[in-house]
């Protein structure tokens, strides 16, 4: 029984990490209806930016997020305004191709600058700290912190979408990109801001990734896959759905690991396929087809 509960708890905590990876992807899709193939590579880029910051500033790795998040947000805005906005149309193919190209470019630039060696952001005592729950159960402090950050982030984004003028403009732009212009809103600007928000979450995800596991320049594509699966399981365009999707993926992977250490990732993919078969639109879809 204790091992079942332990598996469930570890799975939910892992889900927090996946939800953090997936939030930016979900947000960008929700507003702009396009899938950023370079999403995983941007997360890894965030980890390397943190590495560079920590080489200059002797602060704890989490504090590096104070620099990484605004840098990534600014980079996201620039990439959207001057590159990706040119690809936005009813045809999703140009955006897919351009972001695929970006993915290759980011990987190769990182290889050139940082080499292919694996790196890690040293989390210090935080990496191994745990809270004991009885004799057989223990919860890692850092995974718990990661889940807390993911929940707080999604809550914050939900509030931004529901309560602020920017949130209103983001929803309206997602609803009707043409008519929103008649409200004095420049959709290209809104897309830039949406990508800046998404990239801010990506920067945070990068710092957490670097503290969670060793990373190298080619680690992006698997992160995209996990993020993509979390978004699809949860339902396109729903941030709480993305959190639930991340948790389902995390639990499935943890169960797989318990069955056989080589099966963890496979179980995650099977859970994804299962949801896709039963509910092709995901569990909590918000996106309307018009």
């Amino acid at each position: 029984m204790a091992s079942v509960i332990d598996t469930l708890i570890q799975g939910l905590l892992l889900g927090g990490l996946y939800a953090l990876f997936a939030t930016g992807l979900s947000l960008a899709f929700g507003v702009m209806r396009f899938v950023n193939i370079a999403h995983g590579d941007f997360i890894v880029l965030g980890a390397y930016v943190a590495l560079a910051v920590l080489a200059v500033l002797p602060v704890p790795p989490l504090a590096a997020a104070l620099v990484v998040v605004p840098v990534m947000a600014a980079a996201g805005y620039v990439v959207q305004r001057y590159m990706l906005n040119r690809t936005v149309s009813r045809d999703p193919l140009p955006a897919l191709l351009v972001t695929f190209g970006l993915s290759v470019i980011v990987q190769n630039v990182l290889l050139e600058v940082f080499s292919g060696d694996t790196r890690r952001l040293d989390a210090g005592a935080l990496a191994t700290a745990s809270i004991g729950l009885g004799d057989d159960l223990a919860i890692g402090v850092f995974p718990l912190l990661t889940l807390g950050i993911a929940v707080a982030l999604i809550l914050g984004l939900q509030l931004l979408f529901a309560r602020t003028a920017l949130g209103r403009a983001l929803r309206a732009t997602s609803d009707d990109r043409e008519i929103v212009q008649l409200m004095g809103v420049n959709p290209k600007m809104i897309y830039g801001l949406a990508m800046a928000l998404a990239s801010a979450t990506v920067g945070l995800a990068g710092v957490i990734l670097g503290m969670t596991k060793a990373f190298d320049p080619l680690l992006g594509p698997p992160q995209l896959l996990y993020a993509f699966e979390a978004v699809i399981i949860g339902g396109l365009g729903s941030l709480w759905g993305t959190l639930a999707g991340g948790m389902i993926l995390g639990v499935a992977q943890t169960v797989g690991f318990r069955v056989d250490p080589g099966w963890g990732v496979l179980f995650g993919h099977l859970a994804f396929l299962g949801v896709l078969l039963v509910r092709p639109t995901g569990l909590f879809p918000k996106t309307r087809d018009r």
Partner: protein, 246 residues
């Protein structure tokens, strides 16, 4: 003084030329109706005025300045608002949010959330509902209110009566005098000719992308309109002529 003029306005809808050299003028405080059959170019004309259709720079002058080819978000800040065909409310936004977003261009003027709710009291009751949960007539009121919230000098109304019951159309058009009294000029595009003639000072009739008739609403005869509308003296003209004053 002319508030807005178009000169030799030409516009395309995809590869299809929808407007052929339209000359048009509207004065401050005036209500002008544009009538015409389906595909005559009425909606394209309104879309061109708002910037949703790209046109030549000097083809449209508003408040003395050329605005052709400017972006829609810039044109609405100058004072032209559109009530689009089919209403096009934002489904993710409540009634109140739809209206508040309309004020985004930030123009000062008489229209506020409170004033719009006085004009259409039902909207105050339904302000927390999703805009698309309302009846067609109520949605049309939201669409008009949303456009008024930008305090436009010129309000463009595209097919206000489309798909609405006659009593609802009457309620909607009952708001028109208050809008004009607040100092807004109005262009109404209508297929309902009788309705158009009742509210308008002047009428333009479009036919296949050209102005086929223009004149004071009071001065035009039923035969003139029927011919401008259909191109020839057509038996359907009898039908269409109902509601036109003689």
């Amino acid at each position: 003084m002319n508030l807005l003029t178009t000169q030799e306005l030409t516009a395309f809808y995809g590869d299809f030329q929808a407007l052929y050299g339209i000359d048009f003028a509207i004065d401050e405080g005036e209500v002008v109706a544009i009538i015409g059959a389906n595909g005559a170019g009425k909606s394209t004309f309104l879309r061109s005025l708002t910037g949703l259709n790209r046109v030549a720079r000097d083809a449209i002058r508003f408040d003395g300045e050329p605005i052709g080819g400017r972006a829609p978000h810039d044109i609405v800040k100058r004072g032209i608002a559109l009530v689009p065909e089919g209403r096009r409310l934002f489904p993710s936004l409540s009634v109140e949010e739809n209206l508040v977003l309309g004020a985004n261009p930030g123009r000062p003027g008489p229209w506020s959330l409170q004033r719009v709710c006085e004009l259409f009291p039902i909207l105050a009751e339904r302000r927390r509902s999703p805009g698309t949960a309302l009846s067609g007539g109520q949605q049309q009121m939201v669409a008009i209110g949303r456009a008024l919230m930008s305090n436009p000098k010129l309000l463009l109304c595209d097919e206000l009566s489309l798909g609405l019951a006659p009593t609802v159309i009457k309620d909607i058009y009952a708001a028109m005098p208050a809008i004009v009294a607040a100092g807004t000029a109005v262009i109404v595009v209508e297929q309902d000719i009788g309705q158009a003639l009742r509210v308008a000072h002047r009428v333009y009739c479009f036919q296949e992308g050209r102005v086929s008739l223009a004149g004071d609403a009071d001065a035009l005869t039923r035969d003139q309109i029927a011919e401008a509308y259909f191109g020839t003296s057509h038996p359907i003209a009898e039908e269409a002529g109902h509601g036109i004053r003689h």
